[in-house]
Symmetry: C2
Subunit: 391 residues, 2 copies
């Protein structure tokens, strides 16, 4: 029990932003912070020791993907995720629920854009009170995920912070479906707690999830549910709307009702604007694949440029001797010219992905450090303005 703590060190008098210290058996981190996604027990194109060098504090891995390859039992036999991937800092796993939904129905972003995903197999077979049936995307094998085995699987994976199983409702469903789904998620939450308690050895802590779709009263009910149960932390999940304003509005429905002394995580949101506005609502941690996924598509985060990012493939960088950002203290951002990284993308060299991934990680690490400093100094509105965001 003493291996874990969440201490609030400082509160911003002007907003609900706060500085916290989240203690785990693998180290303590300061919040607000960003949880980088090592989906399949690997950050794409970036080794764990490079993450440390870049100042990353905490990462997550995805239960759904690891269940399919290499399997949670194997990870356990290899000593758990920390040993397996040689990341010795704090780590979180999700419950698998989001991917069952996203890979079953199609991704949230595709849904928000009202797009079907051609050629993507619908892998979700059935959701019942017991749990969810889905098919492995590698071999088609039927897998049944329940609240209980989601906890067992996350025990085998061995991350510090684990998450209850939820049904992540599609964006388009009506309030009735959303309410019934949320209530089942709450029953799943209680089953997760029971299973967690049954096997609690003090090495992990459990987060509850706030669902409730786009509906203010359901979000409040879901937040109050999580606060009423002995979760260590609160995750705000599900479809949060189709614009940045909607995301922040809907997260804001829940925030007054979550347990105020627990860490709050906003699932899957990693835009600079959502982060800064989310911090002002009292959210402590964020995660998203977008910084590293953007890197693999040639996008370098450039928060102080008009668009907030540049595409290094653009011909304008062909002869640009300047580095991406030589104030970030890493070689990828400071030692190489834009022209070189442009060349790497034109020549389809893997090194291009590696360098932009490192750069985007460094930008996010700096953003979170800037945010913490601004909260301490009482200058969050100025920081927001500097990053081009209104809070």
């Amino acid at each position: 029990m003493t291996n874990f703590a969440f201490d609030l060190l400082h509160r911003d008098p002007a907003t609900r932003a706060r500085i916290g210290k989240l203690v785990t058996p693998h180290g303590a981190i300061e919040t607000p912070n960003f949880i980088f996604c090592a989906t399949k027990a690997a950050m794409k194109a970036c080794a764990a020791d490079t993450l440390r060098d870049l100042g990353v504090d905490i990462i997550l891995a995805n239960t759904y993907h690891l269940l399919i390859q290499p399997g949670s039992k194997l990870v356990q036999d290899m000593g758990g995720l920390h040993d397996f991937m040689q990341w010795h800092g704090p780590m979180l796993t999700d419950s698998g629920g989001y991917q069952i939904f996203a890979m079953g129905h199609g991704s949230i972003s595709a849904e928000i854009k009202r797009k079907a995903i051609p050629g993507r197999r619908r892998t979700l077979s059935q959701i019942t009170e017991d749990g969810a049936y889905f098919q492995s995307y590698t071999d088609g094998k039927q897998i049944f995920l329940t609240p209980e085995n989601s906890i067992q699987i996350q025990r085998e994976l061995g991350a510090d912070l684990i998450v209850m199983l939820d049904e992540c409702t599609p964006f388009h469903v009506d309030k009735d479906y959303t309410a019934r789904s949320m209530q089942m998620t709450h029953r799943w939450g209680d089953r997760c707690i029971a299973e967690f308690d049954r096997s609690d050895d003090g090495a992990q802590k459990l987060y509850g999830i706030v669902q409730g779709g786009v509906y203010q009263d359901l979000r409040r009910e879901a937040a109050e549910y999580t606060a009423s149960r002995p979760f260590f932390g609160t995750a705000v999940g599900g479809c949060l709307g189709d614009t940045k304003d909607a995301i922040i509005e809907i997260a804001g429905y829940a925030m007054p009702y979550v347990a105020p002394d627990r860490p709050v995580h906003l699932l899957g949101m990693g835009g600079i604007e959502e982060i800064i506005r989310g911090v002002a609502l009292g959210i402590d941690t964020f995660d998203c694949v977008s910084p590293t996924r953007m890197a693999r598509h040639g996008w370098a985060l450039a928060p102080f440029e008009p668009m907030g990012r540049i595409n290094i493939r653009n011909a304008r960088y062909r002869e640009d001797k300047s580095p991406l950002d030589d104030t970030l203290g890493n070689a990828a951002s400071g030692a190489y010219s834009k022209a070189y990284i442009h060349h790497l993308f034109k020549a389809q060299e893997i090194l291009g992905l590696q360098l932009l991934t490192q750069h985007n990680i460094a930008v996010m690490v700096r953003l979170m450090a800037d945010i913490r400093a601004a909260i301490r100094a009482g200058t969050l509105p100025e920081l927001a303005r500097r990053y081009g965001v209104t809070i």
Copy 2:
């Protein structure tokens, strides 16, 4: 002129192996050594600072590829290859001749295996006394490479060591064609020297190339040609046969006749057996894409295993907790389990390529250090035996 030197520090009394010190404006290296291939001004999946950490002393880049993307003029404008790719050690560029041949007629290995390469466009248009016409593989643009502009292009790229243009004759051609081709290559060599002298600013040195196919008297004639001209170093190139024995036999045809006080490079040969046997013939440097290309196909060099390599994709490594080799002093070889790297390949994670690339580089770095130590100690035959090679 004083920026360059090649000093012979030690000769093995039992073989023709030797320890040399090759001095360039970007530092000195000891030979025998391995020149790692950063084909398009990038080691595939490995940044320059990682190369340094792994103990790499010298790299090469390929004129042909850089001419097509991003162009040698652009590299010059960006400060030359060293600045462009942030490699601050010794570097070599080839002349472009080999790739015109390999991408024009098909690769040597395909030719040796008597295979055509389906779908590969034949890009070589014409070879004349003046030079070689070929098409860019990116945009089909006609490019004309001559002895003079090969030197100019290599001046623009700015490597320390540059190489004369040659025609690399196909394996199947008869002695008459090989002899006529070799004689043209010698005339091209003289034109390269003239062009080199015209623009010599002391920042680069020129290697001659020994061609002559599989024919003993032609190899001798070619070696004597290079020795009679003021080249700084000697490169042994062209089709060296279809077996390890043939390669060593044909390289051996030339070695008694090359200039004994100049560094000798064996072009494109990087198997452990060819290296050890080549060292015993007096060859000082080697290069080959195979250690890093093998890595990207899942092969980890394992010189003390029966096959000399293992394929990490093999199911036998699925639950193998042991590292690839924890005596190599790098994380890729020593910190991660084979099971983890196996998982990365199964999950198609780029990180798998990165880690195996680093491992294979470290194996080659250790091989060359072991060879130098063995020459100094007079124990080259014991080293060869340890690596499973007969010299």
